[in-house]
């Protein structure tokens, strides 16, 4: 597993989730810290395409051998795509949490929520506390 990284182009939620905002859409996933705490992910239970997800609420589950964890939505929106590749290779969440390990793509319903999220430096600072 690679060392801790927190890319600058992402916005972060305190519950260890990230959003990559592109226009009115965003790709969501869990942070390096989240996957490291969880351990090897063996199962991803995604929402359905078309489902509505609410900022600060659980929208999916990721599960390691030892525990299951709710995934908290950093922003609200409608699910337009889920990462189907994780069904066969859930370990991508560990190997590449910001790339191939993305969880869902959403059409944002409240793009202004981005302002409440943390930048990479702020998120790192929060982890250090």
């Amino acid at each position: 597993m690679a060392d801790a990284t927190y890319p600058d182009d992402l916005r972060y939620h305190e519950e260890h989730d990230w959003a990559r905002i592109e226009g009115d859409q965003a790709t969501l996933g869990i942070t390096w810290y989240a996957q490291d705490s969880l351990g090897e992910v063996v199962f991803y239970d995604p929402p359905e395409v078309g489902a509505t997800i609410q900022k600060d609420s659980s929208y999916a589950e990721v599960e390691s051998v030892k525990a299951v964890s709710d995934v908290i939505a950093p922003m609200s929106g409608e699910v337009v795509e889920v990462n189907d590749a994780l069904e066969d290779s859930p370990e991508k969440v560990n190997e590449d949490p910001y790339g191939e390990g993305w969880l869902v793509k959403v059409r944002l319903t409240s793009p202004e929520e981005a302002e409440t999220l943390l930048g990479a430096a702020e998120y790192r600072k929060m982890l250090d506390r």
Binding site: G39, E40, V42, F43, D45, E61, E63, S64, V65, K66, V68, E87
Partner: protein, 331 residues
């Protein structure tokens, strides 16, 4: 003991394929000694203690009068009238009190010796070939115990384990334990945590006290009738004889999820709209690469192949009763 060092799957596979070690020093030890040691142990333990030869080992249940399981444990016969019991950590104090109270009518001393031992479980197909040379000791055959010198101090090597693999459990002086751990690391033994300990034992369907075994369940329900010898008239034997004759109200069964989902302790077992049981242990099985576990179900449903569903946090996951063990070693 941490949940994991490098990762549960890696540690799990080290034990299945090579050799891993667990620091299980939290386990308790109780020494039983005296002219009535055999008679006393025969009274409190479910198995036939008279069958343990000097240097032998045996699995047993410690039961209450109702046949409920207070603990499950290994007994090692160190000498003529000298036995060592290894208890589960969370039951150690209550076991001691139970044994102490019942020892009064016997010529026997029950001694808490948990502080004298650190315990390292070295497990896996290569455990013996690595361990013997690394520590320069003779290893006992399976289900036997041998005295040894480890780190210059008296120690016990026990041919037992909780993984379904061959291996040795070392009872050593706590002072030398860090050095022995380091020696074994150098010899290539992979450190393993509680997470792998649980997945390994679950794949071979070894029960865990607190999950499959409780004071409210008897050994017959748990499938441990084989280690209950009612003719020895141990405490609880009458209730257990009844349960054996009448058949248990529920039976412990192993199951595998068919498809996605990971069962966890406490998940309801369903058939149609009826709850027919409850999961006692569940995990993702690293060897089978599927969700699997054990559950108490109505006896007629415990047949291999029976279709059930597991309610995993509100989602129904199709599953099927599987034969025990869930994982069988390739020979």
């Amino acid at each position: 003991m941490p949940v994991q060092y490098e990762g549960i799957r890696e540690e799990h596979s080290a034990v299945r394929r090579h050799v891993g070690m667990f620091d299980v020093s939290h386990m308790g030890e109780v020494e039983v000694e005296g002219p009535d040691a055999l008679a006393f142990l025969q009274r409190v333990l479910s198995n036939d203690v008279a069958r343990i030869v000097p240097g032998g080992a045996q699995y047993s249940c410690l039961c209450n009068e109702d046949g409920g399981v207070l603990d499950d444990l290994f007994v090692y016969r160190l000498g003529g009238d000298n036995y060592l019991i290894v208890t589960n950590a969370s039951n150690h104090q209550s076991d001691l009190e139970w044994l102490g109270r019942r020892s009064r009518e016997f010529g026997v001393i029950v001694r808490d010796v948990a502080d004298r031992f650190a315990m390292l479980a070295v497990q896996g197909p290569h455990a013996r070939q690595v361990l013997g040379p690394a520590l320069g000791i003779e290893l006992p055959p399976r289900f036997h115990v041998a005295r040894a010198q480890v780190g210059g101090r008296p120690a016990l090597a026990c041919g037992t384990g909780y993984t379904g693999e061959d291996g040795v459990e070392l009872l050593i002086d706590p002072e030398v334990a860090p050095r022995v751990w380091a020696q074994l690391l150098d010899a290539g033994v992979v450190p393993c945590g509680l997470g792998a300990r649980d997945t390994l034992r679950l794949e071979v369907c070894y029960p865990l006290h607190g999950n499959e075994l409780t004071p409210e369940r008897n050994p017959i329900e748990a499938g441990l009738g084989w280690c209950c010898k009612e003719e020895t008239r141990f405490i609880g034997s009458e209730a257990i004889a009844r349960a054996r004759a009448e058949g248990p109200a529920e039976a412990l069964a192993a199951f595998k999820i068919e498809g996605q989902g990971i069962p966890r302790q406490g998940n309801p077992v369903l058939r149609g709209d009826e709850q027919v049981g409850v999961v006692t242990s569940g995990t993702f099985s690293p060897s089978l690469e599927v969700g699997a576990g054990m559950a108490y179900v109505k006896p007629e449903l415990a047949e291999v192949g029976t279709e059930i569903e597991i309610d995993v946090r509100g989602k129904r996951r199709p599953a099927r009763i599987a034969s025990r063990p869930l994982y069988a070693k390739r020979s």
